[in-house]
Amino acid sequence: MVLITGYVKMNGTEINIKKTGFLKEYFGTIFTSLSSLLTGMKLTGYYFIHPNKIITEQYPDNRATLKMAERFRGEVTLPHNENNEHRCNGCQSCEIACPNGSIKIVTKHEISEDGKKKKRIDTWVYHLEMCTFCNLCIEACPSKAIVMGKKFEHSVYDKSQLVKILNKPGSKVMKEAEE
């Protein structure tokens, strides 16, 4: 155990007036106080005359150049390829993994060409208004069907628009992701 009793000195900050007579203490206090105040004013004054230190990013104007980090979690998306196919086979692992039930997968049974009954997704409901972007559904997905999107501008005037259906109408499962 190391006990530090002295403050880690950073650029002479502590103001301690030694007890050396009333007048000396009185005027000492005034001078140290004024100098400590002037130090602070020096800093703000420095920034006032150095506008190049401003770090503001002007959001709606910089939308063209604004890039999110590659791991940024903005929303859950179900990518479709050009043939309107996705990789989700409706195993519902994500629904189970989701801690607050923001994923609802409605499945249906399809009969394929060889006469077998197969589980397929009917609607992939995603409650954006409840999602906490914890990434557990992405981790849980065995066929890597869902990924996190980069979009973050989701503001709406109407709450019902936040409930999203991720599979596009008429979409199918990719061949390689069927089981």
Partner: protein, 367 residues
Amino acid sequence: MEKLHLLFVFSFSWLASHLNMWLRTGIGNSFLLLVTEMLIAGISLLAFLVILCFFLGYMERKVAAFMEIRLGPNRVGPKGSLQIVADTVKLLFKEGLTPDGSDKFLFNLAPFVVVVTSMLAIAPLAFARDFQLWDVNIGIFYVTSISSMAVIGILMAGWSSSNKYSLIGAMRSGAQIVSYELSIGLSLISIVILSGSLRLSDIIQSQANGWWIFKGHIPVLISFIIFIIASTAEINRAPFDLTEAEQELTGGFHTEYAGMKFAMFLLSEYINLFIVSAIAATIFLGGWMPFHIGNLTGFNHAMDYIPSSLWFFGKTFFIIFIIMWFRWTFPRLRIDQLLNLEWKYLLPISMGNTLLVSAMAVFGWYL
């Protein structure tokens, strides 16, 4: 030569005298003339104050922003200059509610009292050479007595809101303004002693050969510093904004005020800021007097060509900037520390300082 001077320098005094002459030819009755002149002066003063408050609000936000490494308002109007206009129009059209349980008469009266008292104090100010609304012979006395009236409005607001936070804020302001009034008075008295007059125009004239802050050596510098500190406290600005103290009292005396009534408090805050800065500029920095250095006649002549109104406003805005600088740098004091500062430091020092200045005046130790 005089004409040439007018070409270069737009003079307020020229404007005032011509207006006076023009009115004199139109209106024979001297009473009517006085009323018309007062009306014109009042309306132009109001317009000036509103524009001034727009400008000060914008300036404050930009100063704050630049000290805080950010941009500040820049999307409403060119470079955000219409931001305060938008705020004002919004406050105009906002519901100005009076809370139940409040003392309705006092509640609605308080903002007007505050604004009117702060506007009254502008009367004896000299904005430019020979351009003064009311050159009263007790100018400084008038200003100090009017400015201490503001506390009545604040007390009224705090009491009538029937909100405990407002009440605490109002009580704080009472203690604060009454005590800081003393050191303001004493620091002003030091200049009165030196110049020998309470009339503001005389004080400005006494600085024709040098501003008091340069002529008066260290004692005047001390009273200047005391004046700046005490007047910051007097107008309730940070670090002495205990009456509002947003983090402690959620707004202090104006917690319950909304809409235009709240805007009045903002207005009076900026007018007060302007007034104390203008007083400081007049008393210590020579008002509209240009900057002269001893015998450098060329330099002095060049300074003379800068309009006197520019000198006045330049000095005033310099002090306004310093007070804003205080606000955006320092944390707030506690109420007992605030009173300590006044009674233990500012008041004894300014008393001693007054003695020194009297000695200076008696022995003529100034330039």
